[in-house]
Symmetry: C2
Subunit: 206 residues, 2 copies
């Protein structure tokens, strides 16, 4: 693409560095900003700058937070004996939206992935082990995605927790509520049958 | 969506104001920036700020430019008797990419669209008429999109140029090169036949 302006070219280049945004989309976005009032762009630029510079991570669960300790970790209503281990903040938001969980979280910040050069030491695993050793936690719930990387990470942490007096569970995998059995994949359906729950318990969940 | 941080919420909100970017995508983009080195975000914010504040429009053709007069208008190699009328800067870039056009441009900045509240006075039409009156231009080539708004705009300008000694043409509409006739829509195919060109001329174009 040949640009008639260096400023434009630079803005389009920086915008196209974002994931899933190509040069054409970036140009469309920048031209949109040029048509909007100037403070639209100023606000966007300031908000991005602020979030990058001033963002804090909760010292206990590593969730994104404005304070030293996030609202969830600081809440007296939360069950401190239960810790749900997740990949990133979006998973915390997804679980919080269900209103079904009253324990704490531990955000790993990713999964072990040799392909992307992410090892155990790039993740918040050491602090998880430390929490387990302190003895306040009764159960860790693994809620990572069920990919090879997720499974590897689960297994690595499981091994690290070996010998400590703490329960370890993973979230249930199975057919989604409202899904038809005939369209489900075999692995999920197989797990659904293996990990069946007593009928009375399924009544309670509704 | 419930955010654990006001800074994050604000950045996601500002990002989701861009066209085609929803809250989920915005969150994904902001979290991506948080994982990147800080200067990635700083550069993006600065580039957006700079393009919005310091962008200039060429005083002759209204194309985006870093200087008072854009490179195309300033070039002595360009045919000053020919002006191609386009909607926005993306059209200039598209035509420049063909390397088939050596005249100047005139960027309207949009199309007449009563639905969106855009009238002739919101577009760079007055300066176009002024150029036509100065008499240096021999031909205007209309290259607006062939929608109702584009046709309306073409017709409005055509009426305004009435009585002036200047040729007016529009770019050819027809079946795209390499397209199969059987899949073409009737209107385009019909125009293709009505506006057929002498065979020798089509040889020269290749």
């Amino acid at each position: 693409m040949e640009f008639s302006s260096k400023l434009l070219e630079n803005a389009v280049y920086e915008m196209s560095q974002l994931p899933g945004i190509g040069k054409r989309t970036a140009l469309r976005l920048v031209l949109h900003l040029l048509k909007q009032p100037e403070d639209r762009t100023t606000k966007l630029a300031r908000a991005l700058d602020a979030v990058r510079k001033d963002i804090k991570f909760c010292s206990q669960c590593h969730n994104i937070s404005d304070a030293e300790i996030c609202e969830i970790c600081a809440s007296p209503k939360r069950d401190r004996s239960l810790i749900c281990v997740v990949e990133d903040i979006r998973d915390v938001m997804a679980i919080e939206n269900t209103s079904q969980y009253k324990g704490l979280y531990h955000v790993l910040g990713g999964k072990i992935s040799p392909m992307e050069g992410i090892g155990p030491h790039d993740l918040n695993i050491a602090s998880l082990i430390k929490k387990a050793r302190q003895g306040e936690t009764k159960e860790f719930i693994f809620a990572l995605s069920s990919t090879m990387e997720g499974d590897t990470t689960n297994f690595y942490i499981f091994k690290q927790l070996d010998g400590l007096d703490v329960n370890i569970s993973t979230i249930a995998r199975g057919i989604a509520v409202n899904d038809e059995l005939e369209y489900a994949d075999e692995v999920t359906l197989g797990r659904s049958i293996l990990n069946r729950v007593p009928f009375e318990r399924s009544l309670k969940a509704n």
